[in-house]
């Protein structure tokens, strides 16, 4: 019997090693697996490379991980706050300016496609995004039919933490609205994808055509009925 459900958040985040690359889903406040991140605080892994669209939205979760000195490097598209009413990445900014954390700034679509390449077993790919800009510096480029392209490399992860609404014991996931964002591609790109979900439903309860992340891309599922 194939059962990917685990009974606790602690078990869900077990095995994340020091130095691991951890992908964390979410965009804005939607789809952030805050409970998994906080469980990782307790778990103790350090020297982490974090892949996330931002560098800590709000005070909980990733910001705490950074404040605890557990993050060596952040790979993200937007390490500033986009919403002045809800300033984020404050902890990151402090650490970054103090030279205590590395940043790799990647255009958001390039980040998504680099993970897609990793998850799909592809090698590097050429993208027009960032050609002629400082983010292309030092990278291989090529002009094809008059269009400039930058060669970008696959971005694989050791772990991915994502948040979804429902899962079954095979790891099939369904997300609510824009909660989906990076979830599917991060599950593909990581060796061990862990999903915290609102509800674990019986096998067969999710209509096959409506599954958004097929279970083959998910290794662990934990129910978290009252997420933070």
């Amino acid at each position: 019997m194939l059962d990917k459900t685990v009974p606790s958040l602690a078990e869900a985040v077990s095995g994340v090693c020091d130095g691991a690359t951890l992908m964390i889903g979410g965009f804005g406040g939607s789809g952030i697996p805050t409970d998994l991140i906080r469980a990782l605080l307790d778990q103790g892994a350090t020297n982490l490379t974090i892949v996330n669209n931002n560098a800590g939205n709000g005070p909980l979760g990733l910001s705490e991980l950074i404040a605890a000195g557990r993050v060596r490097k952040v790979i993200c598209s937007y390490a500033r706050s986009a919403n002045p009413k809800n300033p984020s990445s404050a902890v990151f900014a402090e650490w970054y300016r103090a030279g205590r954390i590395e940043l790799e700034c990647v255009p958001q679509g390039t980040m998504a496609d680099r993970m897609h390449a990793a998850g799909a077993g592809l090698g590097p790919f050429f993208t027009p995004t960032s050609y002629g800009t400082p983010l292309a510096e030092g990278k291989e480029t090529r002009v094809i039919d008059g269009v400039g392209y930058v060669l970008e490399h696959p971005l694989p992860g050791d772990f991915a933490f994502v948040k979804a609404t429902q899962a079954d014991r095979w790891g099939n996931l369904v997300y609510r609205y824009a909660q989906r964002n990076f979830g599917p591609v991060m599950c593909m790109a990581a060796k061990i994808a862990v999903a915290q979900v609102q509800e674990i439903v019986p096998l067969g309860a999710l209509p096959p055509e409506h599954v958004m992340t097929p279970g083959i891309f998910v290794q662990r599922v934990v129910e978290c009925r009252n997420p933070q």
Binding site: N57, R97, C105, Q108, A112, D113, Q179, R180
Partner: protein
Amino acid sequence: MTAWNKLTRAQIAELVARDIPDGAYVNLGIGMPTLIAQHLPADREIILHSENGILGMTNAPEGGPHDPDIINAGKEFMGLVPGASITEHVTSFAMMRGGHLDVTVLGAFQVSRLGDLANWDTGEPNSIPAVGGAMDLAAGAKQVFVMMEHVDRKGAPKIVTECTYPLTGARVVDRIYTDLAIIDVPGDGRLIVRAMVEGLTLPGLQKMTAAPLTGVDACQRIAA
């Protein structure tokens, strides 16, 4: 005292909105361009895209209720229109990079006469690089409109011969909407002034622009 008035942000937004055709797929950048959503003509179906996978957004109802899973790129609460669809990030950026969006409207620090766009990084020593989806939009939308003040807070021109800020994309801007004028950027080095606020002259506009402008007889006058 000047003989002309600057347009308000709402007035610029209205000018941009007027130029977006019925049935267009549009991405509005974070900041000033977001205002455009409130000025879209009611008789047109214009479909708003957000990089986080929403196609068919509308403003959230005043006062809520707000759905935490329906937000735009600026992390503001939004609503869905009938006909909306949701995708994940790979597909959402395929829409942006693959030439499927008819128009994107972006803010800018600088635009060059060739259409180079600088809008993501001031290049200041203390600034934290943060690009988001701007480079993907610049690279891929069918038309890139810029919406910005004509000069910066210190009065320095934002339309320049060559950008001094780090680029978002080279030769990507098609049209600029400022608080003073609407300027086409054909990409051949000309900056064609299509419209100006009432009372402003081409030489007057040129003084506030660091690249040569081209006038046209049919230049439209905008009441501020």
